[in-house]
Amino acid sequence: MSPVVEVDKLSKWYGNILGIVDVSLTIGAGIKGLLGPNGAGKSTFLKLITGQLKPNIGTVKIFGLPLPSNPQLLTRVGYCPEYDSYYREMTGFEFIYSLVKLSGYDSRESVDKANQALVEVGLEERAGDLIKHYSLGMRQRLRIAQSIAHHPDLLILDEPLKGVDPIWRNKIINIIKSYQQQGKTVIVSSHILHEIEAMTEDIILINQGKVFAEGDIHYIRDLIKSHPHKIYVKTEESRKMAGGLINREEVLSINFSDQGLMVETLDRDKLLDLIAQLIIEKNIEVKELTSPDDNLQAVFKYLTER
């Protein structure tokens, strides 16, 4: 099967700032998760493959054709931007209807498709309201609606779950998954691992404008597992707590700070169990228990410095 998106040696920079560096990828049918911390280059990549930006070096092909010289390809593409942008004076219906119409459909088809998309994202009852009166989550759903309304073969979603409540989060994930079942292609970006995990196992890891890894999500899970975690324990009985932690195999190092101690471990869950056990057994009063580096940024930092 021919790839839906092909990028070759793609580079993009903004003045002195690098956006994407020498990225070569092929993406076929199914859901592809684009995972990376904020500022990693995810949005730049998505803007490049939708023709929003022009690459400094490299080429982009969609459905086998170069995008800049074939703008009609965009009829088959749906794009949901990351930012909360909309036309203030439009109603939800007008917004979707206008954009479907601009995709080349006639008035009747545009009305049908707009209504159908609004139903899909649960905004049919608020379709006649001005968008500026929508909540943040509703506006996010509306942006998704405009990207799916014309039933594109390639759906590109930049942080689609941002600001969406948990119920709609699941529904949107189901909408995205339904595209996969139809044999279509979805590229979805997020900086939150479990969001991507809920949609797909096929991911691209991106950081500092470079593709770090591509493949199964279990790979990143393993990376996270091998990454030493820091657990901060805020307590006035630091010595008592340290006494219980020292020489335990779960603990890599212990550092004392002003109001507690920072413990480094390779097995976060086991360490948390141990701390809980010590709190009970030694009757230690713990005011705060946090994991300051439990995020993708920390994992990437660890991996790049390794």
């Binding site: 929003q52 703008p71 009609q72 794009y79 930012y83 942008s85 004076e89 439009m90």
Partner: protein, 258 residues
Amino acid sequence: MSIFKGIVEIFKVFFRLGLKKTRTRFFIIFSLSPILLIILIKTLEMGGLLSRGSTAEFSANMISFLFFNFLIPIMAIFLGSGVIKEEVDDKTLCYLTSRPLSKMSILMGKFSAYFSIFFLVIATSICFLSLIANFNNLTNIHLYIEILGFNLAAFLSILAYSSVFMLVSTLFNRMILFSFLYVFGWENIVQYLPGTTQKLTIAHYVKSLLPFGTSQGSFLITQFEPTPKLWAVIILLVITGISLFFSGYLFNKKEYVL
């Protein structure tokens, strides 16, 4: 989608949207409010409190001064700058550029939509002002020729000014200040200078088109040396054409990082 179909579709979207904008509503109110003043003056004239014909003269002066010196250039600044700038500032450009539309269609469609709205507002106001001011002279054919002349001048004036300001907005990010300096600085100073210097303004060619039958010529301009009407039309159209072409070219080449 062909360029022409794209322009038509974009026009439809932004004509509807443009009518809903607060800025448009403000301009509609501001442009139509002189009608109330003319009704008042005409009433006074008909009641014998003002000399006969004074309303018609006042109306013509008001159209020349308020509309052509003030309102049209200001509207053109907002029209010209709004086409691209508001899409970039509001980060809505991506919705248009991710559709199968050429950038030229986006630019021309939106420009023509905003232009049509503003011209319709100005033309309506000019028609009402002239007709009310000449209420007891409606059978005079010269009245309609004068209205047509004013509307033609307004059409070309909005077209030329707004296309130039649109070009400026594609070149520079902060164009409002430049545009105001051009209109209320350069154009105001130069029009009082004799010789060819005043031909370096859009205002000169617009004023060359105004139907100066009454005293508004001397009311507005000293040492005015008009360009023949046909030449004025050609020059305004050339200014418009060049500005639109380069706006389209630059918009197509320029990258907007939202």
